[in-house]
Every structure is written in structure tokens, then in C-alpha cells.
């Protein structure tokens, strides 16, 4: 019949009027990311053994770190002194967390990195240590 499609379309839009919307009110409601989401790293300074594996594996060379000898003379090895990730070039590829033998660097589900200045994208040890929300539960998969 002529005009059948018009009626069909009108019926469809009228039905959609009552349906629940598919959009999120994003900044108010934070998005729940799936576990295994690759977000901003959380760093545990006390776990780090300064093995430099993350620096070596990083494909974009965005991690820089330095260590110092352990102040306790009875213990061998180094402890971490500075640990910086440059989020201008970090691609959140998850390789640093996979390679880390002590799980000192792990992924979180946080992803908001917008800043007013590019300088603020250099995140240091303290910032990465304080980034302790929504930490990914399983890291060695």
C-alpha cells in the first residue's frame, strides 16, 4: 500500500520515544571499564628492583628511571629514585606491566589525561604512586 513505509517509520520513532537512551551522562557518571583495560599506570616504588626491563621494552621510549644503592648496607641491589612516564608518547601498550618481574608497575582503569599544558603530561614517581584508584586486578595474564 502507498504510504505504508511512512506509517512504519512513524510507529518506530514513536516506540523509540519511550525506550531507554543508549548514551551515558559521561562526566557525571564515570564509565566502568572492563578488567584488562589498559589505562594509566600505577607504580609501586617499594616493589621496584630497578631492573630497567620496562625501559628496555618500551616501544616509544617514554619511561625514564634512575636508581640508587640501597641505604640499608645489609641488602643488595638498588632502590628506585626517579621514575617518569611521558604520556605525550606513551601508547599504553601494556608491555611495561607485562615485563615487570615484581609487578611494580601495573595498569589501572583510569584514562583521563587531558591537561592544559604538555609539560603536565610528564608524570613522575609520586604522581604514578598516587594514581591508586581502579587498579587492574589481574596483571599477569
Amino acid at each position: 500500500m502507498f504510504g505504508e513505509g511512512l506509517a512504519k517509520g512513524l510507529k518506530y520513532t514513536l516506540k523509540s520515544l519511550a525506550k531507554k537512551e543508549v548514551t551515558y551522562s559521561y562526566p557525571e557518571e564515570t564509565l566502568q571499564m572492563p578488567d584488562r583495560f589498559r589505562g594509566i599506570q600505577k607504580f609501586y616504588p617499594e616493589k621496584c628492583i630497578v631492573c630497567n626491563k620496562c625501559v628496555n621494552v618500551c616501544p616509544t621510549d617514554c619511561i625514564t628511571l634512575s636508581g640508587k644503592p640501597n641505604p640499608d648496607p645489609d641488602k643488595r641491589g638498588k632502590i628506585i629514585e626517579t621514575y617518569d612516564i611521558n604520556f605525550e608518547i606513551c601508547i599504553l601498550c601494556d608491555l611495561c606491566t607485562e615485563v615487570c618481574p615484581t609487578e611494580a608497575v601495573v595498569m589501572t582503569n583510569n584514562f583521563e589525561l587531558a591537561e592544559y599544558s604538555r609539560d603536565e603530561l610528564y608524570k613522575d614517581l609520586q604522581w604514578l604512586d598516587e594514581n591508586d584508584t581502579n587498579i587492574r586486578k589481574e596483571n599477569k595474564v
Binding site: 512513524l10 520513532t13 523509540s16 531507554k20 537512551e21
Partner: protein, 331 residues
Amino acid sequence: MHELLMSPPSWLHALIFFVAGAVLLAIVLGFVTYAILADRKVIGYMQLRIGPNRVGGRFGLLQTVADVLKLLMKEDTIPEKADKSLYVIAPAIAFIPAFAVLAVIPFSAHLQFADIGVGLLYYMSVSGITTIGILTGSWASNNKYALIGGMRAVAQMISYEIPLVMSVIGIILMTGSLNLVDIVMEQQQLAFFIMQPLGFIIFIISGIAELSRTPFDLPEAESELVAGYHTEYSGFRWAFFMLSEYVYMFGMAALTTVLFLGGWLPIPGLGFIPGVIWFSLKFMLVVFFLVWLRATFPRLRADQLMEFAWKVLLPAALANIFITAILKELI
């Protein structure tokens, strides 16, 4: 209101009518503000979105107010090569008829601003003047997109005005009057959308085309024409074009209510509800229908547009006139 219209003129009357007109203008502006919001909200819900929800609470109640304030603060640009005087008066030519047609609409049995014997003819003829405003604005902008958009708008509006006028002749034949109050009173038994179904459909279609709303929004087809006839306009003058568009929506919805839905007359048995409420309920139903269509249909193709007006709507409207005349003779 009626005695006031019939009494001899004086300065006091001029003052009263000025105030009444200002009140109507305020109501119309309020309608436009919330019609735009309702447009966006309803379309949003139909597309499974929320729509405006930032300014003015969860429902975005101040969104349009904010938009208008932004428009008023914008720079008022006039292109260097434009015809300045025409460019400046075009928005006024487009807007004034849009408001002037509201004078004859009877909002209830007693609330009417002018009781003209040829009220329907007045509406149809005055609303045609807006076309000149659009053409003037598009020509004066000296811009190819504006001119093409303006030409399209004018061609469409003139073509669809004919079936629009033809479709109401059936009503005029049945009422024997062009007065809108008489037309409403004629519908006490049965509203005209039941007695004139063909005329009603033609009126709605060509009315939407007159408003240049979807699916007849070719004059503003942004994918082809940038913005249509108001490409070069900005700020306050652009707001006037948009305002006239939405005031016409008010006018057309009110006219549909009066002509086909029985105006302020209640549904039998519910006479205790005042006429103005009935009028606004029917009016809002028409406005919702317009928004609903906009959320549903795609735009018509430019070559189908003219054919549809001249080859489908006009013969159907003429047939409606003849059928009405024959039935009136027989019964």
C-alpha cells in the same frame, strides 16, 4: 475582547491593543523558546539520546535562552558586496507577517485580536509576504549558496501555497464563510478533519512544506547549500529568520487547530474545561506531530518536490473541492 473590537476607536483602545499585542508577542516568544527545546528534546528521545541537559537543570530548560543570548552577543556581519539596505530589512520583512497573521487566530470564543470577515484569506495572503523577505535576504547577501537556497525556498513556498489554499476551499464551501470563528462554530457537530479527510491531509502536507520543515527542508539542506538563504546572516538578523520560522510553526499549528480540529471546542462531555485549554491541547498535539515527522523522515529530493506539489497535491485538492461541492448539493 469582542466588545473592544466593535467599539469606536480611541487612544485608550490603541494603548490596550498595544499592550495586548505585546502580551501575545511575549507568549509567542515563550512558545518559540520552548518549541525549540521541545524539538531538540523529543527528537533526542526518539533517537535514543537525552538531548540538551546542561543549561538550566536536567531538562535543559534554559538551553534556548542561552543560545539566544549567545546570538545577541555575536558580531553583526554585513558582507562587503551585499546590498546593505535590503540586507538589513529582509529579516524584518520575513518576521513581521509571521507575527501579523496571528491577529486573526481565535484562541478561544472570546480571545481574538481581530475579527475579520475574510480571516482565512488574510492569513493566507499575509503569510505569502514572508517569501519576499526570504528572497530579498538571499538576493541581498550576494552569495551563491544563499541565492540558490532562496530560490529553492521561494519556488517551494509558492508551489505549496496553492494546494494549501485549495485544500481549505472545501471548508469554506461547507461553512459558507471565511471567518475563522464561523469555521470553528461550524465544527460543533463534527470536526473538519473527519468531514474533510482529503483536505486535511493535503493541508498538513503543504503546511509542513510552507514551514520548510523536514521532510520539506530543502531550502536549508546543509549538505548541499551550506545553510540556505540565511548563509550570510549572523547574530540578531539570523535570529529573526529563525524566529519567523518558529512563529510560523505557531501560526500553522494554530490554524490547523482552528480549521480542522475544532479550535477551542471541547470533546463532547468535557465542556467544563475552558476553551483556551482545549485550544492549547490540540495545538500542542499538532506541534508534537510536526516534531515527530522531523524525527522520522528523510529529506525529499529536489526534483520530486515540485512534481509532488503540482502533480499530486494540486489535482487532489481540486478533486476535494469538486467532491465537497457535489456532496453539498446532494445533501
